[in-house]
Each structure stands twice: as C-alpha cells, then as structure tokens.
C-alpha cells in the first residue's frame, strides 16, 4: 500500500515536471498555431545554462531561473517575430523549428560535448532531498517543478481570463483574422505569448538540470511525453495541460508498479488514444476557449 501511495505521489510530482515541459508547446501550438519543436531546445539549453552557472559560479541552481527564464523568453519572442514576419503556416512551423532543433542540439554538443553533464550532489543537494509527509516522500526538484507548474497554469489562466492581453490572446486563438479585424495587434500579442511559452520551457530546463543527467541527445527523448501531455490536455489549455500531465504521471507510475516499467508508456499512450477518441478536444473540453 505504502508502495502504491508513494508511487502515485511520485507520479503526481513527475506530472508537475511534465506539465512544466509541456506548457510552452501547448500554448504555442494551441494559440499561436506554431508547432514549436524549438521549445525542446529551450528546455535543453536552459538545463545546460543552469548546469554551467551552478558549476562555474557555484551558485544555487534555483538562482539560474533569474537568468534562464528572461533570456529564453526573449529568444522565444525573437523567434515569433520571425514567424509573424514570414507568416508561417502551422506545418511549415513544424519543419522550420525542426531545423532549429537540429542546429541548437549540435550547438549544445559543440559547447558541452556529447558527454553526460550532471550536477554533483554537493553542487545540487536538492537532487537527493525530500520533504516528508508522514511516510510519503516529496523529492524537492519534482516538488519545485510541480509547484511552479501549478502557479504557472493558474497564473496564465488568470492572465488570459481577466486581462486585456488575455482577451486578445483568446480572440486570436479562436479566429486570428476576425481578431485582427477587431483591432487586436497580432504581432505584439503573439510575441508576448511566445515569450511566456519560451520562459516556461526555460523554467522546466532548470528543474531538469536539478533532477537528472543531461546530454545533447536527451531533448528528442521528451517528444513522446510532451506531445502526450499536450494532446491529452487539449491544445492551448494551460489547466488542461497540468491535469493531463498529472494523469499521465500517475498512470505511468501505477502501471510501473503493477505491470513493470515497460507497461508505463503503453498505459499512457492507450489513455491518450482513448482521450482522442472520446474527448478529441482534450480532457477539459473546448480547449481553445478554455485557455
């Protein structure tokens, strides 16, 4: 029993990390209509930056958030500026950012070599630390990611529901042309949103660096989990993304305990297919509107 409950908890927390990794992709795809594989590169590079800052400056890995998030936020905005400029279509964006993904991965390999990079326990004590609730352990990095994911998800939800910016974004999400016709500044709004999305990915990168070893080839391993979360959560729905990520984390964890780890991906993907069949627009229903 303690096994199952611990597994479920760690699944929930893992879900937090998945959510953090997926929010950028979901917003970008759902609202901006940009299937932005570069989000994966942002996560990876942000993780490397975190590693580098921690090692060379000896700072607390958490502090690198202050550098990475704004930095990649700007990168995201710049990229969106280009997309707006060339009026890129949804699937062209997939290929464009795939090219970018290749480039950034090889850059990472040039700078940090293909070798594993992992913060040692002295540099990153959090990796083995936990907060205890009774007999249940909450590992710090995952917990941090989970909390961050909740804050971001609800923060964005609030932003989109109660601010002018949010109304503009929702307008764009529903029908860009109409929104523009009604005077929404597509360029400005989309760049702001892209900046947010990239910032979220950067945040995820920090937590990745704190919880595991990184290497350039790692990014492509995230495709499966992130796309699953994005699909399950419904494109563009932040809250949906969070819930979906938790579901996936828990399903994976329970499947791991009951059927063995290889069962985890199978279980997750079956849940995914079921969702697509019976809630094609994602668990929260009309995702676009729900954003």
């Amino acid at each position: 029993m303690s096994l199952l409950s611990q597994a479920v908890v760690s699944g929930v927390l893992a879900g937090g990390l998945y959510a953090m990794m997926s929010l950028g992709m979901s917003l970008s795809w759902g609202v901006l209509k940009v299937i932005n594989l570069a989000q994966f590169s942002f996560i990876l590079l942000s993780a490397y930056f975190t590693y580098q800052l921690t090692v060379s400056l000896g700072i607390d890995p958490f502090l690198s958030i202050l550098v990475c998030v704004p930095l990649f936020g700007l990168a995201g905005m710049a990229l969106q500026w280009v997309f707006n400029r060339i009026r890129i279509s949804e699937f062209e964006s997939l290929l464009f950012t795939f090219g970018l993904f290749i480039i950034l991965e090889s850059l990472a390999a040039t700078v940090w070599t293909a070798d594993f990079r992992r913060l040692s326990t002295e540099q990153n004590p959090y990796v083995s630390e936990s907060i205890w609730i009774g007999s249940i352990a909450l590992p710090v990095p995952q917990l941090a990611a989970f909390v961050a994911a909740i804050l971001v998800a609800f923060g964005v939800r609030h932003l989109l529901r109660n601010t002018h910016f949010g109304r503009a974004v929702r307008a764009l999400a529903q029908d860009r042309d109409v929104a523009v016709a009604f005077g929404v500044d597509n360029g400005k709004v989309s760049m702001q949103l892209a900046g947010l999305a990239a910032g979220f990915s950067a945040l995820a990168g920090v937590f990745i660096a704190m919880s595991r070893a990184i290497f350039p080839g790692l990014a492509v391993e995230w495709f499966g989990i992130v796309f699953s979360v994005v699909i399950l959560g419904g494109l563009g729905s932040t809250l949906g993304t969070l819930i979906a990520a938790v579901i996936i984390g828990v399903v994976g964890a329970v499947a791991t305990v009951w059927g063995g780890p290889p069962m985890a991906p199978l279980a997750v993907f079956l849940v995914l297919i079921a969702t697509l069949l019976f809630r094609p627009e994602g668990i929260l229903g009309a995702a676009r509107r729900d954003t």
């Binding site: 290929l95 795939f98 090219g99 995914l272 297919i273 094609p280």
Partner: protein, 368 residues
C-alpha cells in the same frame, strides 16, 4: 486507365535501372547502396504524400507503418524462419490493415480532422513502439539481429539485391502516386482536401476514398520498411519507432512539394543526398548547422515546394545545377559522382530559393 507518358517513362526508367547492377565493376558499389537509400526515402515520402498530400489529412503515423514492416521481417523471418520475399507481402498487408483500422476509427467511429487527426496518428506510432517493448514475442527490449537471414540469390549479391528491391518498391509507390494523381480517386481526394463536405455533397464517396488512400499508403510504407530491415540488420525499438522517419518523410514531401507526385521524389533525392554528403563531409559539428539551416531557408523561401518552383523556373534550376557542379569539376573533385551531384542539387536549390518575382499564377495547372 491508359498508360500516361509519365507512367510509361517511370516504367522504362525502372527497367533500365534494374540492369545497372550488371555493370557494377564500372563504379563504386556504394552507388548502389546510395541509390537504394534514395529509393527507400522516395517510397516512404511518396507513400506519405499519397494520402496526406492528396487528402490534406496530416499524418504523423508513417513511423508506425514503417515499423510494422521492419518488425514483420524481424519476427517472422529472423525468429520464425519464414522465407523473406513472401514475408515482404505479408508486411505490406499488415501495414495496410493497421492503416485501415486507424481509418475505421478516426473516419467512421469519430470524424477526426486537422490537428486531432495528426495527433491521433502520432499517438498510434507511440503505441506501436510501446507494444513492441512489452511483448517479448515481438521484441521485449532484446532487439532482433537479422544477421542469420537467408537472402534471395536470384536478385544478385546484397548491394544488387537491395538496390533492386528498393527500386521495385519505389517504382510501385511512384506509379501509385501517378495513377492516383490522374484518377477519379485522386480528384475525389483533392476535393476532400479542399472542402470535404462539399465533395461529399457532390457525390464523392469520401469515407471509402480516404480509406483506400490510407490503405495503399500504409501498404507501401510498410512494404518499404520490410525491405529496409535488411539494411538495418539489427532491429531495435529505439531505431525503428522513433520520430526520425515521420519527420524526415514530412520534411522531404513538403520541401519537394505535396501538390504533385514528383514533389516527394525530388524532396527525397535532395534531402537525402545533401544530408549524406554534408553529414559525411567531416566537421560533424557544423554539418548539422548546415542541414538545419538549409531546411529552414527552404521552408521559408520555397513554400510551394522545390518541384513546382523548378517547373516555373526551369532555367534557374538548370543554371543553379550547372554552377553547382562547376567548382568540383574545376577543383578536380570528380572522383565521386554523388558529391558532384550534391553540388548540383545544392546549387539548384539555392538558386530556386531566391524570391520569385513574376506572378505564380503562371504556374502550369498542378493536376491534370
């Protein structure tokens, strides 16, 4: 349906190529392997485009069909000792069945379109890998060495054999694409792509047509995967069910142009050739930058695809090719025909990427 010039040309070319291995002493055997790989990607890209390009249903599922093909050979031939050639057909059929099954669900049970359909196919590809991982009858993580597989001697030694197998599959795929392009099926699909509801209302049996196209596409993809298993020679889940195949196939089709059957062919030739030469050009750390960069610029600059662009600007393409092959010939780097061709293609591509000034409406009608 009468044999059109294009189809006739394809058949003639294929028959001619069939005998190329006979003269293998005249050139490095690698040319056969290189050609095989081009055939492989032509078959994959064409089969993807056969469905997606015509119907507009964007599919990430290529990896699933390809994987079914590879693993059919792995399981039935390497593990169960089935004869190779018949198994190829079985692989194709299994792939088609998977495609039809997916179609049945997404087109009949649920009417999924656009992104949801794309995501669905992506999910299916994931599931196939996950299934192979848990089932030890398929893989179970051990991987399958194909070293022991009995190869048919009739087609010649390995390079000749795989060259010919690849040639057959690629020819089938291209012919299928051509026939479709000029058939009622093709037109029905084009109509579906433009406005499915109106098409249905004008008498297009949309469900049946989508299923037919999906079935054919999946059959070819799986068949080509089955042949490719011989090239892999050691089948693992990571190698087979990864995102690489679907992404490359989409890339090739869109770069070449999804609107004409020649698009995927051109795309496959260009992307594979440049990738092969650049990646093997040493300085690995920058070659990726170039591959990625070219990709980005091509997406931005040649939206309608290289083939249609080349058809509007044949002169540009020719000049680009000529300029491209210039340097190596001057520098005497002619020891590899492939390298020279790569320069040519690169030159042509780069020149075609320059902005078009004259109105594109002049474009010869895409279909017909």
């Amino acid at each position: 349906m009468r044999l059109r010039p294009a189809a006739a040309a394809t058949v003639v070319l294929a028959v001619a190529l069939w005998f190329v291995p006979e003269f293998a002493d005249g050139f490095p055997i690698f040319y056969l392997l290189f050609a095989y790989n081009v055939f492989f990607w032509i078959a994959q890209a064409s089969s993807w485009n056969l469905f997606t390009g015509s119907s507009g249903y964007f599919s990430f599922g290529q990896g699933a069909y390809y994987g079914v093909g590879v693993y059919t050979v792995g399981v039935l031939v390497a593990k169960r000792g089935w004869p190779l050639l018949p198994t190829f057909v079985v692989a194709g059929i299994l792939g088609a069945l998977l495609g039809l099954f997916i179609g049945l669900i997404v087109f009949r049970l649920r009417k999924l379109r656009g992104e949801i359909f794309a995501l669905m196919t992506l999910a299916v590809a994931f599931v196939m890998g996950a299934v192979a991982r848990v089932s030890s009858t398929i893989d179970g993580g051990q991987g399958i060495p194909l070293s022991g597989v009995e190869l048919p001697q009739a087609l010649g030694d390995f390079p000749a054999m795989i060259f010919r197998l690849g040639l057959i599959v690629a020819t089938l795929a291209v012919l299928a694409a051509q026939v479709l392009h000029h058939s009622r099926l093709g037109w029905g699909l084009f109509a579906i792509r433009d406005d499915e509801a109106v098409a249905e209302n004008l008498g297009v049996p949309t469900f049946r047509f989508k299923m037919m196209a999906l079935g054919i596409s999946a059959f070819l993809a799986s068949l080509s995967g089955a042949v490719h298993s011989l090239q892999i020679s050691y089948v693992t889940i990571e190698d087979v069910f990864n995102i690489r195949v679907p992404l490359l196939v989409i890339l090739m089709s869109i770069l070449g142009g999804t609107r004409h059957w020649m698009g995927p062919v051109v795309g496959a030739l260009v992307v594979y050739t440049l990738n092969d030469r650049l990646n093997a050009a040493g300085l690995q750390d920058v070659s990726d930058l170039i591959v990625g960069g070219l990709l980005i610029f091509m997406i931005v600059a040649v939206k309608e695809g290289l083939y249609l662009r080349a058809r509007q600007r044949p002169l540009r393409a020719a000049i680009g090719f000529a300029v491209g092959i210039g340097p190596p010939i001057v520098l005497g780097l002619t020891d590899s025909a492939i390298t020279v061709m790569a320069y040519g293609l690169l030159g042509a591509v780069l020149l075609l990427m320059l902005p078009v000034t004259a109105p594109v409406e002049e474009a010869v009608p895409v279909h017909g």
